[in-house]
Amino acid sequence: MARMTMIEAIRSAMDVMLERDQRTVIFGEDIGYFGGVFRCTAGLQKKYGIERVFDTPINESAIVGLGIGMAAYGMRPCVEIQFADYMYPAYDQITQEAARIRHRSNQDFSCPITIRMPTGGGIFGGQTHSQSPEALFTHVSGLTVIQPSTPYDAKGLLIAAMETDDPVIFLEPKRLYNGPFDGHHATKSKSWADHPAGEVPEGYYTLPIGKAEIRRAGAAVTVLAYGTMVFVAEAAVAETGIDAEIIDLRSLLPLDIETIVASVKKTGRCVVIHEATKTGGYAGELIAEVQAACFYYLQAPIARVTGWDVPYPHAQEWDYFPGPARVGRALIETMEA
């Protein structure tokens, strides 16, 4: 075991797979010699050579399109989109090609590609370095969509993603790269050094895709969260003193509906939170499923706390961000409903 930040855990996952599977190849903008703008691939080109870890032109459609061709050939590309906000030029390749090739060819071809991208805000990045586009992927049949919230999960899930025989979107909550972040932006940043999930095996291990994790057991209300919002939820629970059960979804597609339903049937209440904008966000899907499965158990309407329906602002970042205060308020309202 070793102490790792989420960046180190992600790097370690790629390191393990480059070593273990010769078909693995890593590429993206600035990820080669330089090691990536977030340093996730630092040292890998030096260790494995330029044929396995290399820079690409600034063309996200090419990054994914080349990866699709390589995956169809039989390689295992794991590519980086520098920010999730820059995945849009690749959206055609991701949704109409990668996600479909197995089905449309009736398994004549397949597309085992992992597409990593830093997501979420909290770094004063403005509208083009802060987006959370998960709902644009969860609507696409054929994709698997993952978002880890700890170094331990990030490594185990990234290796599992790279071993998946179909395309996986791997969303990395960049505000968690260096430490758990609970939304209290004005207080000192925490690091992974003291967090139990900063303890990460050095070698190969995987975590099952499609399994949520109960981060805090509780009886009063179920909170569904993923990525940064898991820690925001923890803070809100601590501050309100409400005995909530916090579920970290980890895998958005497929969804661990069993764990969710069991919890909501127990608590009778549910709050869904995400950083993405509200309308059409993934919370809608979660609420639709939960109300269908738990209708007769629900004692209050299911609440959602999300980013507002505006482009992610730069200076007003913390007005946009659904922090512990807003989540806490929703918890209280849901308890009082």
Partner: protein, 408 residues
């Protein structure tokens, strides 16, 4: 300051006019070295690689370069492939008119390109075709039962009804699953070629795109990537003059040749008479040899004409002269090869008529058999639940539940 809106020379009711198409003599362009650089390729991107002269003789350096690769057997096979393709096109077009299939797209007039190119490929090479390269399959001896089964979306369809007719997939025949979205597969071809090289293998890839679709963004992503990594890929541009109702000028073809586009990226390019089967063989031989030799990517603009409608949903008489196809200066590839073979003394009109009849019989026989496995008017439906198979390698729980909800 006035904008320019490109318009074709002639519209319905007007006389076809190809007077601005310059057709150089077959010996105008010598065979360049395989290491040809883009900076030296201007003549190749603006001239026309040809072998057959107007009388149907094979002449010039490209004819010499072909040598035994244009032997009698190969050429007769080429002619038979093209005849087969054309017979299938006719039959499938009619089958659609009879409601037996939902849709069809012919490649009439363009058969030489895919038929000839396929001859220079090896087992393991991979095409990333558009919907108008079905002749690649014919020339690869793809079973006609599967080809037609796909078009009828019936029990024989290797894609189990998932895809629109003509969007084939045949890995073992070097034919990548066709997407309905234009352009996307072009950069995938580059990726595939990179993978081959990175894996230390010798297979090459070919990307295919239409004149119209060169305007799509992934044309650019493919060319930039190919220029940067120099993988073994042949980037084919089939300039058949039309993109549904838009002539090639709407794709920018009036300003420079499509082959010129590649030069701008530093990728050498040839412009080739795509209706001359021997020119196709020669250019394909050169381009695939270049790729296999590790000299990097190359682009080929195949000059041809889309003689048929865009698809069974299209009526070209609404936007171009009815007789434009017959006015196309590069003629019909079948006729031209036939003339050459006749001239060469290894073929005759009589043998041709006989071959045509045999091929038609064969195609009709296969078609009849294939139709017993279901047509759109007389379907033998697959299990509806089958649509859930292969969305992912393993059926996930939520799709299992949906299948159950469907009743299976």
């Amino acid at each position: 300051m006035k904008l320019r809106f490109p318009t074709p020379h002639s519209r319905p009711g007007e006389a076809p006019d190809f007077s601005d198409l310059v057709i150089p003599a077959p010996d105008a362009l010598p065979v360049p070295p395989l290491t040809l650089a883009a900076a030296d390729a201007w003549d190749y991107a603006n001239g026309l690689v040809r072998v057959l002269d107007d009388s149907g003789s094979a002449v010039g350096s490209w004819a010499d370069y072909l040598a035994e690769d244009a032997g009698d057997e190969i050429l007769i096979r080429g002619l038979r492939d093209m005849l087969t393709m054309r017979a299938i096109d006719r039959r499938m077009q009619n089958a659609q008119r009879q409601g037996k299939t939902s849709f069809y797209m012919q490649c009439t007039g363009e058969e030489a390109i895919a038929c000839g190119f396929q001859r220079m490929l090896k087992k393991g090479d991979m095409n990333f075709p558009t919907y108008r390269q079905q002749a690649l399959l014919i020339a690869a001896d793809y079973p006609l039962e599967l080809l037609m089964g796909q078009i009828y979306s019936n029990e024989l369809d290797p894609m189990a009804g998932r895809q629109l007719p003509v969007l084939h997939s045949a890995r073992d025949y070097g034919f990548f699953s066709i997407s309905g979205n234009l352009g996307t597969q072009y950069v995938q071809a580059v990726g595939w070629a990179m993978a081959s090289a990175l894996s230390g293998e010798t297979a090459i890839a070919a990307g295919w795109i239409g004149d119209g679709a060169t305007a799509s963004n992934d044309f650019h992503s493919a060319l930039v990537s190919a220029a940067v990594y120099r993988p073994p890929v042949v980037l084919c541009i089939v300039n058949n003059q039309w993109a549904i109702s838009s002539y090639s000028g709407i794709a920018g073809g009036g300003e420079a040749t499509f082959a010129d586009r590649a030069l701008g990226y530093g990728i050498p390019a040839l412009r080739v008479d795509g209706n001359d089967y021997l020119a196709v063989l020669a250019a394909s031989k050169w381009a695939t040899a270049r790729a296999r030799g590790g000299h990097g990517p190359v682009a080929i603009e195949w000059l041809t004409y889309r003689a048929a409608a865009h698809s069974t949903s299209d009526d070209p008489s609404a936007y171009r002269p009815r007789d434009e196809a017959s006015a196309w200066p590069l003629g019909d590839p079948l006729e031209r090869l036939k003339t050459h073979l006749n001239r060469r003394g290894i073929w005759s009109d009589a043998r041709h008529a006989q071959a045509e009849a045999e091929i038609l019989d064969h195609v009709v026989a296969v078609q009849k058999e294939v139709e017993t496995h279901g047509t759109f008017v007389d379907p033998k439906p697959l299990s509806p639940a089958d649509i859930f198979r292969g969305v992912y390698k393993e059926l996930p729980e939520h799709l299992r539940r949906q299948r159950q909800e469907m009743g299976f």
